[in-house]
Amino acid sequence: MNDTTTAAPPTAASATAASATAAASRWRGLMADGLWNQNIVFTQMLALCPTLAVTSSATNGLGMGLATTSVLVVSNMLVASIRNWVSPSVRIPTFIVLIAALVTLVDMSLNAWLHDLHKVLGLFIALIVVNCAILGRAEAFASRKPVLASAVDALGMGGGFTLALVVLGGVREVLGSGTLFASASLLLGDGFRFLELTVIPQYKGFLMMILPPGGFLALGFMMALRRVAETRLARQRAAAALSGAVGA
């Protein structure tokens, strides 16, 4: 957690009052952790099962990401609010019971009152129960931190998860079927029909990218790319620090 301040954008940090700045920068650090430094998929390599399963298209990735994020926010807040009452020896079953109940509640409520959305997201919601990232955040963060910080952490982690799924789904969809965000209007409503792109017209399709092997391939290449970017950033930072020292 301590190395995150360097990654947070340095802008606007000096503009606000000290206490507010401390909280804001801590939260920005949490968001940066979730979105990039500690990205669930690319760094922690958690939740790979739902990741590989649903990212055959960008739309599916987005649906899974949004559903997971909302469950993660509520579960983190719930766990954080009872963290001082949970005996460490039984914390894992306690969290599992909470998360499973929560997912079932979400599933039932969506089915009852947002039935059309449930028809689109139903597949993803059942998969959230087996998403170890939810338990991972409860265990690693929410069981030791206050409610608000846990909510921010959940937003960051969920956002990073969504980002990873959309990018991975997008890459696989473009390579596999030549489209991007196909049938996004089914998930987001007719207003988002403009998202549906045909990137490569008359594309015959590269089936393997949609099948599970394509998921592993795309994920591997994206992890490698992320490492390259990380290394380059670190080198730049080191060079900047060096020139600063020389200047002084």
Partner: protein, 252 residues
């Protein structure tokens, strides 16, 4: 959660402390009791939510059934309330719930569900058949096929399922009621043959059941419809010819 004494001791721990004082929480009696309370609260919440949601879920699913029933019929094909006009038939197969589409009181078609064995589980299909055993329409209502591959059987993801309209056991011939890979008339999808094969097989099975139990399904003398075959030419439900031709049947 309403547990006394023990939590208050832990409750005053500083928030940033990663390991709260574990001594009172480590008591042997506290572990099962706390877990039991959490489980009780969770199941209580679930029971409450189930009670609250069950009628809404049932209503939503009934609406789904009604919508899928209407989808497999051309527009204005039936003038009765399909949900209220159903019969369960037995026979050699599984009991089958058959909805009857009437026009002017006469049964003009039936709608029933068939199930195909898909790649990843059962595929539920609703099909409408007219008096002559011609398919009026087919819709897949529930499946677990691979997203992006097998889900093209859904009507809103591709035109494939519309190809069944107008087909009957004589057209194409029984041998050609198969996907092209198996020497039949129906397209498979790139990368997904099992899924369309399952749907084609299920629809064919549904037509065979209709042929075997026609009188029972129609619930009347089973007299063939008039030779006017243009009536049931389905295709697009908005097709004017279909609607007009349907209306001509009224005087009968």
């Amino acid at each position: 959660m309403t547990d006394h004494c023990t939590p208050s001791a832990a409750g005053v721990q500083p928030l940033a402390d990663p390991k709260p004082n574990t001594r009172p929480l480590a008591a042997l009696w506290y572990q099962p009791v706390s877990l039991g309370l959490v489980a009780l609260a969770a199941s209580g919440a679930l029971a409450f939510a189930y009670d609250a949601a069950a009628p809404a879920i049932a209503a939503a699913e009934a609406r789904d059934v009604a919508a899928s029933l209407a989808q497999v019929l051309p527009a204005d094909f039936a003038d009765n309330d399909l949900l209220a006009d159903s019969v369960t038939i037995g026979g050699d197969g599984e009991p089958l719930k058959v909805y009857r589409a009437r026009h002017g009181g006469r049964v003009v078609g039936v709608i029933y569900q068939v199930t195909g064995k898909g790649y990843a589980g059962p595929i539920q299909i609703v099909m409408g058949v007219d008096r002559d055993g011609r398919v009026l329409g087919v819709r897949v209502t529930r499946h677990t096929e691979t997203p992006g591959l097998g889900d093209k059987i859904e009507a809103h993801r591709g035109p494939w399922v519309h190809r069944f309209a107008g087909k009957s056991l004589g057209d194409p011939t029984p041998a050609r009621w198969a996907v092209k890979k198996d020497g039949g008339d129906f397209d498979q999808f790139a990368g997904a043959t099992i899924t369309p094969r399952a749907v084609v097989g299920a629809v064919k099975g549904g037509l065979e059941r209709f042929a075997a139990q026609r009188a029972e399904m129609l619930g009347d003398d089973g007299a063939p419809a008039r030779a006017d075959s243009s009536r049931s030419a389905p295709g697009s439900p908005t097709d004017g010819a279909v609607i007009i031709a349907t209306r001509t049947e009224k005087p009968e």
